[in-house]
Amino acid sequence: MTNEVVPWVDDMVAVRDARDEAAFIRVFGHFGPRVKAFLMRTGMDAALAEECAQEVLVTVWNKAHLYDATRASPSTWIFTIARNKKIDVLRKQRRPEPEDLPWGPEAEPDQAEVIGLQQESEQLGRALRDLPEKQRELIEKAYFGELSHSEIADQTGLPLGTIKSRIRLALERLRHSMK
C-alpha cells in the first residue's frame, strides 16, 4: 500500500515486517533530527541529546515488531519511545507501563482503520498548529516537561474525541478477536 496522506506508515511497516534497512534509514532521516530537538527542549545538552536520539532510533528498530498502525501513527509511537528515554535519562526512574493487551490470533489489520487513524493524527497535528499561540505553547510545554501536572489546566480546542473513539474501536476489535 502506498498512501500520500499517511507518511512513514509504509516505512515503519517495512521495517517491522521485512527488516527493511532502506526504509529504516528514511525513518531515521525524518525522525532523528526531531527526536534530538525534542530531547534538547526537555533539558539535555546537544551531545547527550545526540546520544539519546541515536538510542531512540535503535529502539525503533529493535521494537518495530510492537508497532501497530491501527493504534498509533509513527510519530506517536516514536514520541512514546523518546519520552521514555527522557524519563530514563533525566529522571533516572522506571516508567511503569500499562499491561499489554494480549495479542489476538493474527487479527488482520483493517486498512481503513489504519488510514482513519493516520488521517486523524494528521488532523490533530494541523489542529495543534492552528491553536492560538498561548494554548499551543501550554501544550508544548507540558510535553517538554516544563509544566507540572497541576499547571496543565486548559487543553480544550484539540479534537481528541475522534481519535479517542478510533483507538477505542481498535481496542474493542482486538478484545473481540480474542474471544
Partner: protein, 217 residues
C-alpha cells in the same frame, strides 16, 4: 466489570508527557491496565505528543550518526531482551505493573501491620511520591482525614465507600486538598487498594494522629 471512576485529563496528559513522579505513573499505569476508556484516552494524548514531536523544530544529527546507529542495530540484532517479571506471573488481583513492583503475585506482598487490622506495603519508587498497597478488612474505616497534596486510591479487590461515592475494582479516587473523607471498606469482602500520595495526609482527632506514624503517612 465496568469502571465508573476514572483518571482526570490532567493526570492522563501528564502521564503521556512523562511529567509525573514514578509512584503516580505506577497508579496511572495500573488503572489503565483495568480500564479501556482511559487506555483510549491515553492513546489520544500520546497522539498529541506525536503531533508535538512532528511540529517541533529539528536539530541536525551528528555526521557519523546514521553510521553509529546502523552499527548498533547490526551488533544488537541477535540479542535477546530480558523479559519482565510480569511476563511470567499472572495474578488475579495485581495487574502487570504491580506484579513488576511487588516482584510477583499477591502472595509475594510483604505486608506490615498498620494497626486496626489494616496492613500496608510500601512499594519501591522514587521519593517524590509514595505508593503503598493497603489491605483493609471488610467494614473497616480509614480515619477521617484531609490532604496536603494529591491522594489517589485505586481498588484492586473488594470495594470501599466514602463521601466521593462507591469504588469497586478498577475505580480510582482522585482526592486533592479540598476533600475530607472517611473511606470504609465494603462489609462483604476485605479490600485491597493501591494508594499514592505526594504529600503527608492530615488526620483529624487524637487517635488517628497516633496511628499516623504507624501508617507512615
Amino acid at each position: 466489570m465496568t469502571v465508573k471512576h476514572h483518571l482526570t485529563d490532567d493526570l492522563l496528559m501528564a502521564y503521556s508527557a512523562g511529567d509525573l513522579p514514578e509512584a503516580v505513573n505506577l497508579i496511572v499505569a495500573t488503572h489503565i491496565s483495568l480500564c479501556d476508556e482511559c487506555r483510549a484516552a491515553l492513546g489520544s494524548y500520546d497522539a498529541v505528543g506525536g503531533a508535538v514531536l512532528d511540529t517541533c523544530a529539528s536539530v541536525e544529527m551528528a555526521q557519523n550518526s546514521l553510521k553509529s546507529v546502523l552499527d548498533m542495530i547490526h551488533a544488537q540484532d541477535s540479542q535477546v531482551q530480558d523479559k519482565p517479571v510480569s511476563a511470567m506471573v499472572q495474578d488475579d488481583v495485581l495487574p502487570a505493573p504491580l506484579v513488576d513492583y511487588v516482584g510477583g503475585g499477591l502472595e509475594n506482598v510483604r505486608w506490615r501491620s498498620a494497626g486496626m487490622g489494616v496492613k500496608q506495603a510500601i512499594l519501591p519508587t522514587s521519593k517524590h511520591a509514595t505508593a503503598r498497597l493497603l489491605y483493609i478488612p471488610a467494614g473497616t474505616a480509614i480515619p477521617d482525614h484531609g490532604h496536603h497534596g494529591l491522594e489517589l486510591t485505586l481498588v484492586l479487590k473488594g470495594a470501599f465507600q466514602d463521601e466521593g461515592g462507591y469504588f469497586g475494582r478498577g475505580d480510582i479516587e482522585v482526592a486533592s486538598e479540598d476533600l475530607n473523607h472517611t473511606p470504609v471498606a465494603d462489609i462483604s469482602e476485605d479490600c485491597i487498594c493501591l494508594a499514592v500520595t505526594d504529600a503527608p495526609l492530615k488526620f483529624k482527632g487524637l487517635v488517628p494522629r497516633i496511628a499516623q506514624p504507624f501508617l507512615g503517612i
